[in-house]
C-alpha cells in the first residue's frame, strides 16, 4: 500500500507573502502550489493524496473561514492552516472548531509554519492510510458467499463450530470448511485478526 506524494497549497492575496511562504516550503523541499484567491484554489480540484492548505484569513471575495466551510461542504479533506494579519480571538476559536490545524499570526516563526505543515500532512497521511485499509477489507468481504458471511459473523461472535452448525441445521464438518474459506479469503491468520478486520469493516457479530 503506497500513498501518493504530499502537496502543500498556499492561498494568499498578498504576492509578497505568497512568494515568501513558497520559498520557505521550497527550502524544506515540500511540493506546493500557490493560489491568489479562494476561487482559483477551488477550481484546481482535489489532490488524491495527503495535502494541506495555508489560508490567509483576510482575503477579498471568499475569506479564509468561508473557504474552510466550503471545503468541508464539498467533502474535501485538506487540512487547513490559517495565517492572519490581525488575529482576533473569535475568528481563531471558530477556525479551530471547524478543524483547523493551526492559526498563525503574521509575522510567524518559520518553524511554526513548517511544524504546522508537517503536522497537517501527517494527519492527512493517516487519514489516507485508514481510508485505504478500510477499502481493502471491504473488497475482501465482497468475495465471501452469503453462507460464508454468516459463518464470519458467528465466528467473530465467539461461537463454536458445533453451535454455528446447529443454528444453520447442518453438520460441524461443513462449517469447518466454510470457516477455512473465510479465513483464507479475508487473509486472516487467527480469529483475533479476523475480529479486528470485521470491526474495521463495521460488521456486527451474530447475536
Amino acid at each position: 500500500m503506497t500513498l501518493a506524494h504530499r502537496v502543500v497549497y498556499v492561498v494568499d492575496d498578498d504576492l509578497s507573502m505568497r512568494k515568501a511562504i513558497g520559498r520557505l516550503l521550497e527550502s524544506e523541499q515540500y511540493a506546493f502550489e500557490m493560489f491568489t484567491g479562494a476561487q482559483e484554489f477551488l477550481a484546481r480540484g482535489p489532490h488524491a493524496g495527503p495535502s494541506c492548505v495555508i489560508l490567509d484569513l483576510n482575503m477579498p471575495e471568499l475569506n479564509g473561514l468561508e473557504l474552510q466551510e466550503t471545503l468541508a461542504k464539498m467533502g474535501r479533506v485538506e487540512r487547513v492552516i490559517f495565517i492572519t494579519g490581525g488575529a482576533s480571538v473569535p475568528t481563531c476559536v471558530q477556525a479551530m472548531k471547524a478543524g483547523a490545524v493551526d492559526y498563525l499570526s503574521k509575522p510567524f516563526r518559520d518553524e511554526d509554519l513548517l511544524g504546522a505543515v508537517e503536522r497537517a500532512l501527517n494527519r492527512s497521511s493517516e487519514q489516507w492510510i485508514e481510508r485505504l485499509q478500510h477499502k481493502e477489507v471491504r473488497d475482501r468481504l465482497a468475495t465471501l458467499t452469503p453462507r460464508e458471511f454468516d459463518v464470519l459473523k458467528g465466528v467473530i461472535a465467539g461461537m463454536l463450530n458445533k453451535q454455528i452448525a446447529a443454528q444453520f441445521g447442518t453438520t460441524e464438518g461443513t462449517i469447518k470448511v466454510h470457516r477455512g474459506r473465510v479465513m483464507e479469503k479475508m487473509g486472516a491468520i487467527s480469529v483475533p485478526e479476523l475480529v479486528v478486520l470485521a470491526q474495521r469493516a463495521g460488521i456486527a457479530p451474530a447475536s
Partner: protein, 1000 residues
C-alpha cells in the same frame, strides 16, 4: 259672572269682617294715639326713574292738600323692574307684612302696573281691608277687565288724538304727518294704537310712518322733510336696527335736526326741544291719584276704573321751539299752556325799549291826537312838528324807526330811520302794500296774522320778520307796537317801533350753531367731557361720559357725578376740584371712577377754567380719559424692568440716565439714586468713553434696535473701577421727553468662562476622537503592517534554511533580499501614517436626541465658526426620535462633518459661507441628519471616495476623519453618505435607526 268677582265674593265677606274688626281695633288705638289715616304708597320702580319721580311729586303735592295731621304717608320703592316679584316676592311679602302689621294702611296707592299686580296678588296677606288706588297703569292693561272689589285707579294713555289736533291747529297748512316710532313689542302696540287714531285724520293729511328704520336713517329723513309737514314722535326705546336708545335723547335729536315742528306725547320730552302736544304728565297723574285716594279715604266708592283724564295729558307748548320753527303764536289754542317763554326782544332790551317807549307813548298820544285833530287844529301843527322832531331825535338816537299805521285809511307814516330800515326813500308814499312788498315772502303770512290779531284783540303786536331790500340784502326787523283806538273803530291805529335786529339774529344763529357744533363735537369726542358752572355744579356731560358711567344725565348733573368716584379717591378728588375752582386754576388729577359694568377704572381728569371775552368766570370744562390700561401697562413695564435678570438703563437724548433697574445696582455697585441724571459714560471704562460719546451721537442720528458694538468685545466699569465683559442691546423708545435709549446690559463673565470651558472641552473631545481614530486604525493598520512583516520574517527564515542546506544561489539570495527590502519599505509607509496615534476605549451607549448632540457640538465649534466667519443655520425637527448611541462618538461624527464644512467654506465669498444643519425623522424607524455647505462640492465622478481611507482634500488632512465617521455610524447600525447638494456644495447625510425605547 266674571271669574275675578266670583272668586272675590267670599273674600268680600272676609274683608267686611276685617274692616269691622279693624274699625274696632283702630277705635281703641284712637284712644291712645293721634288718629291719623295711614297711606301706603307702593312704587313699582325706583325713584330715579323720571316717571316715578314725577308721579311721586304729584302724589305728595296732591296728598298735602289734606290737613297734615290727618295723614301719615308711608312709601315703599319696590324696584320690581330689577327685582321681579316672581323671584323676590317670597321675601318681599313677609317683609311688607311684618312692617305694616301694627300700622295697617287705610289706603294703599300703587304706582305702576307691577306694584298693582303685587298688591292685588298678596292683598289678603298684607292689607286685606285696605282699598287700593292705582296710578300709572296703562289703559290697555286694565280696559275691559274686571277689577277686584275695592280697587280703583286712574289709567293713563298717550293722547294721540289731541296731539295731532294741536299740530293741525298750529300748522294748518300741514299736508303730511310723519310718525316716528320704536320697534319693541310695547312700542309696536303704541304704534298700532296711534295708527288707528291717525286714520281719523286721513282725509286731511297724509300719514307716513318711520318705525322700521335705524335711528340715524330716521334722523336723516326728518332733516329733509318739506316745510308743510310735521313730525309726531311716539316714544322709542329700540330703533329699527334693534339698538336700544334713550327715548329722551331721541326726542332731543329729532328736535335738533328736524326742519319742521316735532310733536310728542310725554311731558318730559318738552325739555328736549319738541314743540309740544297733549303730553302725558306724571305729576298730574300723581296729583289726580292723590285726589282719588283722599276721596276713598273719605268713604267714597269711586268706579273701578277711571279712564284717562285729559288733565293728565295737558296741551303744552315749548316757546323756544315755537320760535325756532317759526310757528305763529297766534295759532296757539286757548287750552294750551306755553312753557319756557324765554327772554324776547323785550326782555333783552327792556331798558332801551322802556325809555324809548315811554318817550314814544307820551309823544305818540300827542301825535295821534294831532293827527286826529289835523284839520281842525292847524295851529298845533308846529308844535306837532316839533314834537315829531323831538320824538324822531330820540328814536334816531335809539336807532329805531317809528311808524303809525292807520288801519282804516291804510295810511302809513314812518320816520326816516324806519324808511331806511325798509329801504324806502323819504318821498315814496307808504301804505300796507308798499311795506308788505318789502317783507320776505315766507314771513308775509305770519306778519299779516300777527297784525290782524293785534288789531282784533286791540292788543300788543310783537314779531321778528325778514325784509328783502331792493339790493337783495336780507334784514331782520324787530317790530313792537300796539293797537290804539282813537275815536271808535273808525280810527283804529297801530303804532310801533322797528329796529334792525339782523346782528342779533345772526349772533343767535351763530350761537345756536356753535352750541350744536360743540355738542356734536363733545358727543363724538373719544373722551369724557364735563362742564360746570361757576357754582361748581356740573351742567353738562357728553355722551362719552354717560356711556362710561351708564347713568342718565339727570343723575350726573350737579354733584351727582361724585357718586361714581371711588370712595378712597373721593376726598382727594373733591379737594383738588374745589381748590382749583376757587383759585381758577387748571388741574390734572387721577382717580378711579365706576364704569357701567361696575368696574372702577382709573381716569385722568384735566380741568380748565372758562372765561368770557370780558374776563368773567364762566365755570370749568374738563375732559377725562380712561387710563387704566396705560397705568397697568406702566406698572407692568416697571415690574418687568425691575424683575429683569439683565441690567436695564434708560438714557435720554442728552445721555443722562433716567432709569436704572435693580439689576444695574447689582452689576455696577451704584445705588439707583446715584445713577439718576448721571451721564451714561459713568458706566463705560475711561479708555472707551470718547468713542462711546461719538457712537451715541451716531445712534441718535439713526436710531434702530441693534446690539451695541457688533463684533467687538465690550466692557463695563463698576463703581470700584473694575471691569467686566458685557453684551449690550440698545433700542430707541419714542416718548414725550424725546427719544430715549433703552439699553439691556448682560454680564457675560460667566458666559465667557463657559466658552473657554467649552473650547477646552472641545479640544479634549478632539483629542479623544483622535485617540478613537487610532483605536479604530490599530485594527485595520495591523493587517497592513503585519503583511510585509510576515513576508520579511518568512523570507529570512527561508533564506536561512537554504543556507543550511548550502542550496542558496546568489541569484536567489538577491531576489529574497530585494523582496525583504520592498516589504520593509512597505511597512515603513504604513507606520508613517499611524505616527502619533494612541488608543481609546469605546464608551457606553445611551439614549440620545440628535438635536442635543448637535447643540453640544455647535457650542464646541462656535469659535471655529467665528474664525471661519461662517454662519451656521439649523433646521432642527422639534422632537426627532431618540437613538441609542455613544455621545462622544456621535459628537466626533458631527464635529468632523461640521469642521469639514467650515473647511470647505474657507475660500468662499461671505454670502456663501453658510453651513446648514438639519434633522428630521426618516420614516418610522430612522432619523436623519445632514450637514450641508456651499463649497465646491464632491468629486463628481466618485462622491463616495471621500470616505476612502487616507483620502483628503485638505493639505494638513490625514484623510481618515470621514472614514472613521462612517465606521462609527456603521457601528451604530446606520449609514453615512455624501452627495452634491442642489445649488452647489456638499451634503453629508447621516441615517441612524431609532431606538426602540422611544416609547409610544
Amino acid at each position: 259672572m266674571p271669574s275675578v268677582l266670583s272668586r272675590a265674593r267670599p273674600l268680600a265677606y272676609v274683608t267686611l269682617f276685617w274692616i269691622a274688626w279693624c274699625a274696632a281695633f283702630c277705635g281703641r288705638l284712637e284712644a291712645i294715639s293721634t288718629q291719623k289715616k295711614a297711606v301706603l304708597v307702593l312704587y313699582g320702580d325706583r325713584l330715579s326713574i323720571p316717571a316715578m319721580k314725577s308721579t311721586e311729586q304729584g302724589l305728595m303735592a296732591g296728598l298735602s292738600r289734606a290737613p297734615p295731621e290727618d295723614l301719615e304717608i308711608f312709601s315703599e320703592y319696590l324696584d320690581l323692574g330689577r327685582f321681579p316679584a316672581t323671584k323676590y316676592g317670597d321675601d318681599l311679602v313677609p317683609y311688607l307684612r311684618a312692617r305694616y302689621a301694627a300700622r295697617k294702611p287705610d289706603v294703599v296707592i300703587t304706582v305702576g302696573s307691577s306694584a298693582l299686580e303685587l298688591a292685588v296678588a298678596h292683598r289678603d296677606e298684607l292689607f286685606p281691608s285696605a282699598p287700593i288706588v292705582f296710578a300709572n297703569v296703562d289703559l290697555r292693561e286694565v280696559e275691559g277687565k274686571e277689577m277686584p272689589p275695592n280697587v280703583t285707579g286712574l289709567s293713563i294713555a298717550w293722547d294721540y288724538q289731541r296731539t295731532v289736533e294741536l299740530a293741525l291747529q298750529l300748522q294748518p297748512e300741514t299736508r303730511e304727518i310723519v310718525c316716528v316710532g320704536g320697534t319693541s313689542i310695547e312700542e309696536q302696540q303704541w304704534n298700532n294704537e296711534a295708527r288707528k287714531v291717525l286714520e281719523r285724520f286721513a282725509t286731511r293729511v297724509r300719514i307716513r310712518w318711520l318705525d322700521k328704520l335705524p335711528l340715524q336713517a330716521v334722523l336723516d329723513e326728518v332733516a329733509q322733510l318739506p316745510l308743510d309737514s310735521a313730525v309726531l314722535y311716539v316714544p322709542m326705546r329700540r330703533d329699527g336696527a334693534g339698538k336700544s336708545v334713550s327715548p329722551f335723547e331721541v326726542a332731543q335729536k329729532l328736535a335738533e335736526v328736524s326742519r319742521v315742528p316735532v310733536y310728542g306725547l310725554s311731558r318730559s320730552e318738552l325739555e328736549q326741544g319738541i314743540i309740544g302736544g297733549a303730553l302725558l304728565d306724571f305729576s298730574a297723574v300723581g296729583d289726580k291719584t292723590a285726589a282719588l285716594a283722599l276721596r276713598v279715604l273719605a268713604g267714597e266708592v269711586p268706579p273701578a276704573l277711571i279712564p284717562p283724564d285729559p288733565a293728565t295729558n295737558p296741551l303744552l307748548i315749548n316757546w323756544p321751539a315755537l320760535k325756532k320753527w317759526q310757528v305763529s303764536e297766534g295759532r296757539i289754542p286757548r287750552a294750551a299752556t306755553v312753557r319756557y317763554r324765554g327772554p324776547g326782544l323785550w326782555e333783552r332790551h327792556r331798558r332801551l325799549i322802556l325809555v324809548t317807549a315811554s318817550i314814544f307813548s307820551l309823544q305818540s298820544v300827542l301825535i295821534v291826537w294831532l293827527i286826529v285833530q289835523h284839520s281842525r287844529r292847524k295851529r298845533v301843527e308846529r308844535s306837532l312838528r316839533d314834537s315829531e322832531e323831538r320824538m324822531s331825535l330820540a328814536a334816531e338816537a335809539a336807532n329805531m324807526g317809528m311808524w303809525v299805521w292807520d288801519v282804516v285809511s291804510d295810511e302809513v307814516w314812518m320816520s326816516d330811520k324806519g324808511r331806511s330800515l325798509f329801504g324806502i326813500g323819504p318821498e315814496t308814499r307808504l301804505d300796507w302794500k308798499t311795506l308788505i312788498s318789502r317783507v320776505h315772502p315766507e314771513d308775509r303770512a305770519t306778519r299779516n296774522v300777527e297784525l290782524r290779531r293785534a288789531i282784533e284783540n286791540r292788543s300788543e303786536y310783537a314779531m321778528d320778520y325778514r325784509v328783502l331790500l331792493p339790493d337783495g340784502t336780507l334784514r331782520w326787523i324787530g317790530a313792537r307796537g300796539h293797537c290804539m283806538n282813537v275815536g271808535g273803530n273808525k280810527h283804529t291805529r297801530l303804532l310801533g317801533v322797528s329796529m334792525d335786529v339782523t346782528a342779533q339774529k345772526q349772533a343767535q344763529d351763530a350761537l345756536r350753531e356753535s352750541e350744536a357744533r360743540f355738542r356734536d363735537m363733545a358727543d363724538t369726542a373719544p373722551v369724557m367731557i364735563w362742564m360746570a358752572d361757576p357754582d361748581k355744579l356740573c351742567t353738562f356731560f357728553n355722551k362719552g361720559w354717560l356711556d362710561f358711567t351708564g347713568r342718565p344725565l339727570e343723575q350726573e348733573l350737579g354733584n351727582g357725578w361724585a357718586e361714581g368716584v371711588h370712595r378712597e379717591d373721593l376726598d382727594h378728588c373733591l379737594e383738588v376740584y374745589v381748590n382749583s375752582f376757587d383759585a381758577r386754576q387748571r388741574f390734572t388729577m387721577e382717580y378711579r371712577m365706576r364704569r357701567i359694568d361696575g368696574e372702577y377704572r382709573w381716569v385722568l381728569d384735566n380741568g380748565a377754567p372758562r372765561f368770557a371775552s370780558d374776563g368773567t368766570f364762566l365755570g370749568y370744562i374738563g375732559s377725562c380719559l380712561d387710563i387704566t390700561d396705560r397705568k397697568q401697562a406702566q406698572e407692568r413695564f416697571r415690574l418687568a424692568v425691575e424683575a429683569s435678570p439683565n441690567g436695564i438703563v434708560l438714557v435720554n437724548a442728552q445721555g443722562h440716565i433716567v432709569l436704572a433697574n435693580a439689576c444695574v445696582e447689582k452689576l455696577f455697585g451704584y445705588r439707583q439714586q446715584e445713577l439718576m441724571g448721571q451721564a451714561v459714560e459713568l458706566l463705560v471704562p475711561e479708555r472707551f468713553r470718547g468713542k462711546h460719546l461719538a457712537h451715541r451721537a451716531g445712534f441718535h442720528a439713526a436710531p434702530a434696535s441693534r446690539p451695541m458694538g457688533a463684533g467687538l468685545e465690550l466692557f463695563a466699569r463698576r463703581k470700584d473701577g473694575t471691569e467686566f465683559p458685557v453684551e449690550i442691546g440698545i433700542s430707541p423708545i419714542q416718548s414725550p421727553e424725546g427719544t430715549l435709549v433703552l439699553s439691556v446690559i448682560v454680564d457675560i463673565t460667566e458666559r465667557k468662562q463657559a466658552e473657554a470651558e467649552a473650547r477646552q472641552h472641545r479640544e479634549e473631545v478632539a483629542h479623544l476622537s483622535r485617540l478613537a481614530i487610532i483605536g479604530e486604525m490599530a485594527g485595520s493598520l495591523a493587517h497592513e503592517l503585519n503583511q510585509p512583516l510576515g513576508a520579511i520574517v518568512t523570507n529570512v527564515g527561508a533564506a536561512l534554511r537554504f543556507l543550511e542546506r548550502d542550496n542558496l544561489s546568489g541569484e536567489k539570495l538577491r531576489e529574497i533580499l530585494q523582496d525583504i527590502a520592498a516589504d520593509g519599505k512597505r511597512a515603513g509607509d504604513v507606520i508613517r501614517t499611524v505616527k502619533g496615534i494612541g488608543r481609546k476605549e469605546a464608551g457606553a451607549r445611551r439614549l440620545l436626541q440628535l438635536n442635543e448632540v448637535i447643540a453640544e457640538v455647535l457650542r464646541l465649534v462656535r469659535s471655529d465658526a467665528l474664525a471661519h466667519d461662517c454662519t451656521v443655520l439649523t433646521e432642527l425637527h422639534p422632537a426627532p426620535p431618540k437613538v441609542e448611541a455613544n455621545l462622544v462618538q456621535l459628537q466626533e461624527v458631527f464635529l468632523n462633518l461640521i469642521l469639514n464644512a467650515f473647511e470647505a467654506s474657507k475660500d468662499l465669498p461671505k454670502v456663501r459661507r453658510r453651513v446648514i444643519i438639519r434633522t428630521e425623522p426618516d420614516g418610522d424607524s430612522a432619523v436623519r441628519a445632514s450637514v450641508r455647505d456651499f463649497g465646491t462640492g464632491l468629486p463628481a465622478d466618485l462622491p463616495e471616495r471621500v470616505f476612502d481611507r487616507f483620502f483628503s482634500t485638505k493639505r494638513e488632512g490625514m484623510g481618515i476623519g470621514l472614514f472613521i465617521a462612517r465606521s462609527i455610524v456603521a457601528a451604530h447600525g446606520g449609514t453615512l453618505f455624501a452627495e452634491n447638494a442642489e445649488g452647489g456644495g456638499a451634503q453629508f447625510c447621516l441615517r441612524l435607526p431609532v431606538s426602540k425605547e422611544n416609547g409610544g
